[in-house]
């Protein structure tokens, strides 16, 4: 079983601050995804990264896939209250056929 560890588990910051969320594993993943989930709803896909070292930007969100494809990070610049939610990373390894999810980072951005 591939294990994805996310840190921090909880994060509460003020509007305008920057933050980084980490997703780490000892396994190599062929691709890694980030989802955001709001209360009472299902997760929504934000981005998929597939190449080691890949960086993708989605407005104020920057996603990076580690060179060895074992880890990823999500950086949010100038956080806004609308960024509040549960952020989940999920990966597919070569030996598995389905996504493995991390336990999530609960982000709260205070106005």
């Amino acid at each position: 079983t591939q294990l994805l560890e996310q840190s921090p588990q909880f994060l509460s910051i003020q509007e305008g601050e920057n933050l980084t969320v980490y997703c780490n594993s000892s396994s190599v993943f062929s691709s890694l995804q980030w989802y955001r989930q709001e209360p009472g709803e299902g997760p929504v896909l934000l981005v998929t990264v597939v190449t080691g070292g890949e960086v993708k930007k989605l407005k104020r969100l920057t996603f990076q896939f580690g060179d060895a494809r074992k880890d990823s990070s999500l950086h949010i610049t100038a956080a806004q209250p609308g960024d509040t939610g549960l952020y989940l990373c999920a990966g597919v390894s070569g030996s598995a056929r389905q996504l493995t999810f991390g336990s999530g980072t609960q982000l709260t951005v205070l106005p």
């Binding site: 079983t1 062929s30 995804q33 009472g40 299902g42 929504v44 896909l45 998929t48 989940l88 999920a90």
Partner: protein, 115 residues
């Protein structure tokens, strides 16, 4: 919406009773999944389907069964519910082809409480 509907959205039941959750999609996607979400555990795969009548077990399949008689419907059954199955259940769909199968669209969830 994304064309995926779960029912019921909320259910309270007693230990030992059977429960069926339904997932209906209008996207004609090949892959369908059932996950459960519990605090501190993220999303864990229960069962998945890669076509009509083609299903396989996931990480936490004990106590659950599934059926897929039509492309659009994927049913999750708890034959005899236990308190440990209190959870929020999510259905997800994915198109055919790698990585499509793992690019998931989730339903809004079904909150099940077993007393």
């Amino acid at each position: 919406d994304a064309g995926i509907t779960q029912s019921p959205r909320h259910k309270v039941t007693e230990t030992g009773t059977p429960v069926t959750l339904r997932c209906h999609q209008t996207e004609n996607h090949r892959y369908m999944y059932w996950y459960r979400q519990d605090p501190g555990h993220g999303l864990r795969l229960i069962h998945y389907s890669y076509g009509v009548k083609d299903t396989d077990k996931g990480e936490v399949s004990d106590g659950y069964s599934v059926s897929r008689s039509k492309t659009e419907d994927f049913l999750l059954t708890l034959e005899s519910a236990t308190s440990s199955q209190t959870s929020v259940y999510f259905c997800a769909i994915g198109p055919a082809g790698t990585p499509g199968a793992n690019v998931l669209t989730f339903g809004a969830g079904s909150r099940l409480t077993v007393l």
